[in-house]
C-alpha cells in the first residue's frame, strides 16, 4: 500500500510540473476550454459545440490544446468554470445561457483569462458574448413551409419562451406570410430543450390539428421522425436530421460554430482578442442551411435566393411593416428592429395562433 501511495504522489508531482507552464509562452500555444450543458454526444446543441472544438483542434494542430467539461448543471457551475480558469485555460467558452452569471463572476477573479459566453447578454473586459442569428434560417423555413403547405398552417414545437425562441417563431411566420399572407402558425411548448417523448407527442397533436409542416426549436429528432411516419414535412434543428426523415426533412438549420471558434482562438494567439458582442448569422457562416430536399425545384430556388439575399444584407428579416399580435404597430414601413429589442423580444407578430406564455 505504501509504495502505491508513493508512486501516486510521484506521478502526481510529475503531472503538476508538466501542467504548470504552458499559458505564459506568449501566443505560441494556447489552451481553449469548453463547458457544455449537455453531453458532448447529445446529437444536438452540445454536440455542435464539440464538433467545433474538434475543428479547432484540427485547425491549429499542436499549437492549441482543447479541453472540455460536459453535462455541467447550470445550477452551481461557478466552481467548474473556476477550475478550468485555474487549470491553465487561456480562453474558456461557456456554451449555455445559464452559465452567464457564473462566467461573469469567475471572469472578474481571472482578468488574464478570456471568456466567451454563448447566448447571453452580459459582457466584461475579458468576457465576450456570441450568438447566432438562428432566426434568419427560420425565415427561409417559413417561406418554404408556406410554399409546400396545403392546409396553410404550420406547427412549431418550442422549448422555452425566451427571446431567442420567440425570434424564431416570429421570423418563421414572417417568412411564411411573405408567400401566403393568410398563413397561420400553431405553437406547442414542451418546456424542455431535449425530451423526445414530449416532442413526439407535440408533433402528433399538431398533425392531428391539421398542420402539414412542422418545425422545432428543440433538439431531438423525434418530431422529424413523427413527420416521416405521418407523411408530412418537417425541418431539422441544430444538426442535419435527414436520416430521421429521408422524405420529410425540407432543410435544417445547422449550428456551425467552428469558423467563429477558430477566429477567436486565433485572436488569442495573435494577442488581438478583445471583448465583443458577436451576433453573427448566415453571412458569417456560423449558421448554415442543410440541402433543400423533398421540395419542387422552384421552391428550392426561392429558398436559395432568400438565403443569398439575407447573406448580402439585401433582406433583413425584421423589417417593417410588422404588426404585433395584439394589433398594434411594431415596425413602420421600412423600419428595422434594433438588436436590443430582438434580444429582449417578448411578443408575437400577428398571425401566431398561440398565447405567449408570460
Amino acid at each position: 500500500m505504501k509504495t502505491t501511495l508513493l508512486t501516486t504522489l510521484a506521478t502526481a508531482t510529475a503531472l503538476s510540473l508538466t501542467m504548470a507552464p504552458a499559458a505564459f509562452a506568449q501566443q505560441d500555444t494556447a489552451e481553449a476550454c469548453f463547458v457544455y450543458v449537455g453531453s458532448a454526444t447529445d446529437g444536438g446543441w452540445s454536440q455542435a459545440h464539440d464538433e467545433a472544438r474538434q475543428a479547432v483542434d484540427e485547425h491549429f494542430g499542436d499549437a492549441v490544446t482543447t479541453r472540455y467539461v460536459e453535462s455541467v448543471p447550470e445550477a452551481n457551475s461557478e466552481g467548474t468554470i473556476e477550475r478550468l480558469a485555474r487549470s491553465g485555460c487561456d480562453i474558456i467558452f461557456t456554451t449555455s445561457f445559464g452559465f452567464m452569471d457564473p462566467t461573469i463572476a469567475v471572469a472578474e477573479r481571472f482578468p488574464d483569462v478570456k471568456f466567451e459566453h454563448a447566448t447571453g447578454y452580459k459582457t466584461a473586459d475579458n468576457v465576450t458574448v456570441y450568438n447566432s442569428r438562428f432566426y434568419q434560417g427560420r425565415y427561409i423555413q417559413g417561406q418554404i413551409a408556406a410554399s409546400v403547405s396545403e392546409t396553410g398552417t404550420a406547427g412549431y414545437i418550442a422549448s422555452f419562451p425566451i427571446p431567442e425562441v420567440v425570434q424564431g417563431i416570429n421570423a418563421f411566420l414572417l417568412g411564411a406570410q411573405s408567400v401566403n399572407p393568410d398563413f397561420s402558425l400553431k405553437v406547442v411548448w414542451v418546456n424542455s430543450w431535449y425530451d423526445p417523448g414530449a416532442e413526439a407527442d407535440a408533433a402528433k397533436v399538431l398533425i392531428d390539428q391539421g398542420v402539414d409542416v412542422i418545425t422545432q426549436h428543440t433538439d431531438s429528432t423525434a418530431p422529424v421522425q413523427e413527420a416521416e411516419a405521418r407523411g408530412i414535412k418537417a425541418f431539422g434543428q441544430a444538426s442535419d436530421m435527414i436520416e430521421a426523415g429521408p422524405t420529410a426533412q425540407l432543410t435544417a438549420i445547422l449550428d456551425t460554430w467552428a469558423p467563429y471558434y477558430i477566429e477567436r482562438v486565433q485572436a488569442v494567439l495573435d494577442g488581438t482578442w478583445e471583448s465583443e458582442s458577436n451576433w453573427d448569422g448566415l453571412a458569417d457562416g456560423i449558421l448554415t442551411m442543410a440541402p433543400y430536399t423533398n421540395m419542387p425545384d422552384e421552391i428550392a430556388a426561392m429558398a436559395e435566393e432568400t438565403e443569398e439575399a439575407i447573406k448580402s444584407g439585401e433582406l433583413v428579416v425584421f423589417t417593417g411593416p410588422i404588426t404585433k399580435q395584439d394589433g398594434t404597430v411594431w415596425l413602420e414601413e421600412g423600419e428595422v428592429a434594433d438588436d436590443g429589442t430582438l434580444l429582449g423580444l417578448n411578443f408575437y407578430v400577428e398571425g401566431v395562433d398561440d398565447q405567449l406564455p408570460q
Binding site: T8, L9, S39, E78, T80, P163
Partner: protein
C-alpha cells in the same frame, strides 16, 4: 467452489465500520481497471479524482459548498428513515424552502435590514417543513404511500420554481431570460474566508444541525422514540409513542433541513434563482443518509465524500479528459460496492467446496 452467505446471530459491529472501507477499496480497484482500459494511468487518475480537489484552498471551499446541502438533507432524512418514514422528496423540499426564503430578496429588493437574512432562513425552514408536511398529512390521514407522494411533489416544486422564474419573479432587467434578480449583498450568506474561496457559513450551519440531530437521536427521549417506532411500531405503541405524530415530526424535521439547504444554496453559492437550482442534491442526500449509516455524524462524512466524487469527476474530465460518463460509472460503482458490502454486516461469507446437493441432503 461455492460462496455461501450465512446469517449472523447478531450484526457484526466491526464490519459495520469496516464495510464502507472494503467497498471503497473495491471501487478504487474497479476504477483503476476501468481507467487502465481507457488508456489512462490509474494512479494519476485516482490521484486526480480523490486527492487533487483537496490540494488547493479554493477547491476545498468548493467541496464545502457542495457538501453543505448533502449533509443537511442527509442528516434530516436519517431521522425519517430511522422511524420508517420513506421521505424521498428532499429535492422538492429543498426547492420550496429556497423559494420561501427568497421572498424577501426577490419581492422586497430594497428592504435592507439586518433582519432580512435571519428571516430568509426561517422562511426557508418553515417552507420546507410545510411542504414535507403534505406527504406526512396524506400518510397520517389517508395511509397514502409516502414514497410516491413525496416523490411526486418534487416535480410539482420543480414546476413551481420554473413558473416563478419565467413569470412573476423574473428579473425585470434580465432581457426576459428566466432568472430572478441577483440577491443584494445583505441577503447573501456571508463567506467564511473570502480571500481563499467561496465557501460560506452554510457549511458550518450544516455541521451544527447534523450534530444537533445526532444529540437528539442519541441523547434524548425523542431520539429513543424515533428508533423504537422505526424498529417496532407495536412496541412503540405500548410505550405510548404515537406513530402518527412521528410521521409529522420526521417529515417536517427533514423538510426544515432541506429548506435550510435550499436557502443556503441560493443565498450562498448562487445568489439568485434559476429554473434549476439543484443538481439533484435532494436525491444524492438519500445516498448520503444510507452511506452515513443513518447517523447524522456519518452523514457529515458521507456528504463530504460524495461532494468529493463530484469535484473529482470534474477534475478528471478537465485534466485527463476522462468522459463524464466514465466518472459517473465510477461514482455508481463506489456507491454500489459500499451499499453491497453492508451485506457483510448481517451475513458471514463462507467459501465451501461442498456441492449444493450434498448440503441440502445433509439438512
Amino acid at each position: 467452489m461455492r460462496i455461501e452467505l450465512i446469517k449472523r446471530g447478531t450484526p457484526s459491529a466491526t464490519l459495520r465500520y469496516l464495510s464502507p472501507i472494503i467497498g471503497l477499496t473495491l471501487a478504487v480497484i474497479t476504477g483503476a481497471i476501468m481507467f487502465a482500459i481507457m488508456g489512462k494511468d490509474p494512479a494519476v487518475a485516482l490521484y486526480v479524482y480523490f486527492v487533487e480537489p483537496l490540494t488547493e484552498a479554493w477547491s476545498v471551499h468548493e467541496l464545502l459548498i457542495k457538501a453543505a446541502p448533502l449533509i443537511l438533507m442527509g442528516a434530516g432524512l436519517s431521522v425519517c428513515y430511522l422511524s420508517n418514514n420513506w421521505n424521498i422528496g428532499a429535492e422538492g423540499q429543498f426547492i420550496v424552502g429556497a423559494l420561501a426564503g427568497s421572498i424577501f430578496p426577490v419581492l422586497f429588493t430594497g428592504f435592507d435590514s439586518f433582519i432580512v437574512l435571519p428571516s430568509m432562513v426561517i422562511f426557508a425552514m418553515v417552507g420546507g417543513a410545510l411542504y414535507a408536511g403534505i406527504p406526512a398529512l396524506l400518510k397520517a390521514k389517508f395511509n397514502t404511500n409516502e414514497i410516491l407522494t413525496s416523490l411526486m411533489l418534487v416535480y410539482v416544486a420543480e414546476r413551481l420554481l420554473d413558473w416563478l422564474v419565467r413569470g412573476p419573479w423574473r428579473n425585470p432587467g434580465g432581457m426576459n431570460f428566466p432568472e430572478s434578480v441577483r440577491f443584494p449583498e445583505f441577503a447573501r450568506i456571508p463567506q467564511l474566508m473570502p480571500a481563499d474561496g467561496r465557501a460560506n457559513w452554510g457549511f458550518i450551519a450544516s455541521v451544527i444541525v447534523a450534530i444537533a440531530i445526532w444529540v437528539m437521536l442519541s441523547r434524548t427521549l425523542k431520539g429513543f422514540e424515533v428508533k423504537v417506532i422505526g424498529t417496532s411500531p407495536r412496541a412503540g405503541r405500548f410505550a405510548g409513542f404515537s406513530a402518527t405524530n412521528m410521521i409529522f415530526f420526521s417529515f417536517m424535521l427533514a423538510g426544515a433541513c432541506a429548506g435550510l439547504a435550499g436557502i443556503i444554496e441560493v443565498a450562498g453559492a448562487s445568489g439568485q434563482l434559476r429554473p434549476i437550482i439543484s443538481p439533484g442534491y435532494g436525491f444524492t442526500a438519500i445516498i448520503v443518509a444510507f452511506l452515513g449509516r443513518l447517523n447524522p455524524l456519518g452523514a457529515i462524512v458521507a456528504g463530504l465524500v460524495l461532494a468529493l466524487t463530484y469535484l473529482g469527476g470534474e477534475a478528471a474530465q478537465i485534466s485527463l479528459q476522462i468522459s463524464d460518463k466514465a466518472t459517473r460509472v465510477f461514482q455508481g460503482a463506489l456507491l454500489l460496492y459500499v451499499l453491497a458490502c453492508d451485506t457483510l454486516i448481517l451475513y458471514r461469507v463462507r467459501f465451501t467446496r461442498t456441492p449444493r446437493a450434498t448440503v441440502e441432503a445433509a439438512e
